[in-house]
């Protein structure tokens, strides 16, 4: 019962009263959508694509990432900027609340929880809810804009658009035509796990360095196509159903995300049990 009260408190204070968490995804989604629709119009004008884009294309544009990078003198690494923005803003917004809640007023709440585990679990669920809310807002803003700009509201993907927008060589990806829900939920799932990892790391190192670690996880994942790099699962272009060779398995992606999520929660819970809450965090 108490735990539910904490969770309600955290959801209210950390999500609904967190203006940044509400406005940022709307803003990001709008800018990305404008960029997306400009590109679609341009490609249509140049006859690069035959049909106009859909909501599925927009989601692919958000979570597409990049195909495999093969380092070479002539091949400069260019990080996927849309993907980076989408996946780095969430941990940034969610970074401060738990730390802020450990000082001042948060200590009153913590003591009233009677158990440290309740506090930690409540923060874990808040973190998950916050990340889901962030992606939900990005997707729903995109959906609303699709309706406004009269783009198809279907999960159909136009491979021509994908190839042009991501500058993918024709031989690199399969001719996918439909964006499966399981595929589009995996990046969200990865985002939840990585944000949880960041929150747990904040108990061991300073929050700035935990964010730095998350940044490294994403940039290394983008650089190296490997099933070990969790960020790979957050890129639709690297899924085995899309990429022709060396693609990462969606099923493994879910398994790794869930394992990382649970391990982070557990490690955080153990660490928080012995954590000294000093005023000067």
């Amino acid at each position: 019962m108490k735990f539910i009260k904490f969770l309600k408190f955290d959801i209210r204070q950390g999500i609904f009263y967190n203006l940044c968490l509400i406005i940022s995804p709307i803003l990001i989604a709008t800018v990305i959508f404008i960029d997306f629709i400009f590109k679609a119009n341009r490609y249509k004008a140049f006859d690069i694509i035959n049909q106009f884009v859909s909501f599925g294309d927009y989601l692919f544009y958000l979570y597409g990432g990049m195909t495999e990078y093969i380092p070479d003198y002539g091949e400069v690494f260019m990080f996927p900027v849309v993907w980076s923005v989408v996946f780095l803003i969430a941990p940034f917004i969610l970074l401060n609340y738990p730390i802020k809640d450990m000082v001042g007023n948060g200590q009153h709440i913590l003591i009233r929880s009677t158990k440290r585990t309740y506090w930690w679990l409540s923060k874990c669920f808040w973190n998950m809810a916050g990340t889901l809310f962030y992606h939900f807002m990005i997707q729903m803003t995109g959906l609303a804009l699709c309706l406004i700009f009269q783009a198809e509201v279907t999960n159909i993907i136009h491979v021509d658009f994908v190839k042009a927008a991501f500058r993918v060589r024709p031989e690199e990806i399969r001719d996918v035509s439909v964006l499966l829900t399981s595929a589009v939920l995996l990046p969200v799932c990865v985002s939840v796990s990585v944000n949880m990892l960041q929150m747990t790391l904040s108990l061991f190192i300073k929050p700035i360095y935990s964010f730095f670690s998350v940044l490294l996880v994403f940039i290394i994942s983008a650089y190296l196509l490997s099933p070990v790099g969790i960020g790979n699962y957050a890129m639709l272009l690297r899924h085995d159903k899309v990429l022709l060779y060396n693609g990462v398995s969606v099923v493994y992606g879910y398994a790794i995300s869930i394992i990382l999520l649970l391990l982070s929660m557990l490690a955080g819970s153990i660490r928080f049990h012995y954590y000294d809450i000093l005023e000067n965090i």
Binding site: E75, M78, V81, F212
Partner: protein, 285 residues
């Protein structure tokens, strides 16, 4: 009075754990790039030995095998993506912390608003600039111990990443050491100015961690603008994103002095305006 305040601030900026941590992180990333580059050089040596007719000595040298000279190793990729954090970690947060703790009040009474804000600006600038350049310099010096400083040849422009329209390309192929020095100066100035963005953020944000990270997102946001600017594949644009043009090697489009100077001036004017006019006018409670 001003000199004493500047001395105090600079000493606080350069003698703190965050500064050392940032340097350590930067140097570790640079070392990662060096390891990759060492592997590439060893591989190139085998190829050179195998080809007696055309040894291509000028194709792999110090100038395209240090962290700033190549755009493809993991270390180089990481460094030029995370540098906005590396430059703000040392001291960008200081005004935010001093405002929260009430130390600002003490300093303002002791040395006056102008002296305090100016010395803080200088200290933040220096800390960021040094945090940006020291790992690059270390990488260059360590690489110099292992790779020959052969004069690069324009014949191998694809391996050097410096093309005919690249910034200071003539200098690169005639006096590469000077080219590296000038580029380090550009990075020095930008490192300092980006750290000052963090200082400016402290005027509006009260959380230290936010002030440190915000410049990264501002740069990332500015980088995103490229999507709206570079629309035609037919036009040879100039690089506008510091995330790309601060690399001493061309990434996509060539850098230009005009863009670099405009961005330096705009960054300086905006940060200076907000600190010396906006924040100075505010009452300190």
């Amino acid at each position: 009075m001003l000199l004493n305040t500047v001395r105090l601030e600079v000493s606080k900026a350069l003698k703190n754990r965050s500064f050392y941590t940032s340097l350590l992180l930067g140097c570790m990333i640079a070392f990662l790039a060096f390891i990759t580059d060492l592997g590439i050089y060893r591989n190139n040596l085998y190829i050179l030995q195998a080809d007696a007719m055309n040894p291509m000595y000028a194709s792999s040298s110090l100038f395209n095998l240090w962290i700033g000279g190549e755009p493809f190793s993991l270390g180089s990729t990481i460094y030029f993506f995370v540098f906005p954090l590396l430059v703000t970690i040392p001291y960008g947060w200081s005004y935010c912390e001093e405002k929260n703790s009430g130390y600002t009040r003490l300093m303002l009474v002791q040395c006056g608003k102008r002296n305090y804000f100016l010395s803080k600006y200088i200290a933040v600038f220096l800390s960021g600039a040094l945090a940006m350049v020291i790992p690059l310099l270390c990488s260059f010096l360590v690489s110099a111990l292992f790779f020959p400083a052969v004069l690069p040849s324009p014949i191998y422009c694809t391996t050097n990443g410096i093309f005919y329209d690249s910034l200071m390309s003539a200098l690169y192929y005639t006096a590469p050491l000077l080219y590296v020095c000038i580029y380090l100066c550009i990075d020095f100035i930008f490192g300092g100015l980006i750290a000052c963005i963090s200082y400016v953020c402290s005027c509006f944000v009260k959380y230290r961690v936010v002030t440190v990270i915000l410049p990264l997102f501002l740069l990332l946001g500015f980088h995103y603008v490229r999507q709206f600017v570079y629309v035609s594949p037919m036009i040879r644009y100039k690089e506008i994103s510091p995330l790309f043009f601060l690399r001493p090697v061309q990434v996509v489009y060539s850098a230009s002095w005009t863009v670099i100077m405009i961005e330096i001036i705009v960054l300086f004017l905006v940060t200076a305006f907000l600190i010396f006019l906006w924040e100075r006018r505010h009452e300190v409670y």
